[in-house]
């Protein structure tokens, strides 16, 4: 009976360990992806990370139901406008289950950067998001430079802009 309860404890512990995951850290290689584009891209064309080689890329994960995402979009649009000609790109990956929800959001918060759609959260799983929104600023070598979880207009926006400024200037 003792051995049995021991193995039962091990089983339960194992289940807990299996669910914990480590997020992407700065310096690690950003996982590649190829997702259907749903806005600001050629109709029916996929958005793949390797199309953006040599650029400073801001990979943003968002959903229509996420409050801070709403606040982050105007700022991202401004950064995209400002740093676009210096090799800065934004890829916004939507995680809504229904594509219509994403379009409703985009009608209210219009942006000019491409929107990809990951309804099953496959890419989100590979990036091991800790919260919503989550964003990964990648340098020109495709390595993670800066991780943003949540979005605070004052604190995060300034830090993101400083990092973009540094990376595009390199």
């Amino acid at each position: 009976m003792k051995r049995f309860s021991l193995s039962l404890t091990a089983l339960v512990l194992g289940l807990f360990l299996a669910t914990s995951a480590h997020a992407l850290e700065p310096g690690s290689e950003a996982p590649g992806f190829s997702l259907p584009g749903i806005d600001n891209t050629t109709e029916g064309a996929a958005i793949a990370l390797d199309q953006y080689q040599g650029k400073v890329v801001y990979v943003d994960f968002w959903a229509s139901w996420c409050g801070p995402c709403r606040r982050s979009f105007p700022k991202l649009e401004a950064l995209h406008q400002q740093y676009g000609d210096q090799g800065f790109e934004v890829i916004a990956i939507n995680l809504d289950e229904q594509e219509a929800d994403a379009h409703e959001f985009l009608d209210k918060h219009p942006v000019s950067f491409p929107i990809a759609w990951d309804p099953e959260g496959k890419v989100a799983g590979e990036y091991k998001l800790k919260g919503m929104p989550s964003a990964y600023l990648l340098d020109r070598d495709g390595k993670v430079h800066h991780v943003v979880v949540g979005f605070d207009e004052k604190k995060d926006a300034a830090a993101i802009e400083a990092a973009i400024n540094q990376l595009t200037g390199e």
Binding site: F4, L8, L11, V12, L15, T19, F61, A63, S64, W65, C66, G67, P68, L95, D96, E97, G121, A124, G125, L129, K130, G131, M132, P133, S134, V149, G150, F151, D152
Partner: protein
């Protein structure tokens, strides 16, 4: 009888396999207003504030409740 007990415990443990962490990007349904603990977070905060000032205590509950893991 002892064997039956073990089988029951094992079956109960197997149920744990169904337990999984809801990932941050899967909280769309939890973020809906009808999933919130209170219908009016602001009224609830106010009521809680008054309650705790009258009781001269402090609250351990968070102010507004929702299922979205947003900051």
């Amino acid at each position: 009888m002892k064997l039956l007990g073990r089988i029951v415990v094992l079956l109960a443990a197997l149920q744990l396999l169904a337990c999984t962490q809801v990932q941050p990007w899967e909280r769309g349904h939890l973020a809906r207003p009808e999933m919130a603990l209170t219908t009016d977070p602001m009224a609830n905060t106010l009521r809680s504030h008054i309650h705790h000032s009258k009781e001269a205590s402090s609250s351990v509950a968070s102010g507004s409740g929702g299922g979205c893991g947003c900051n």
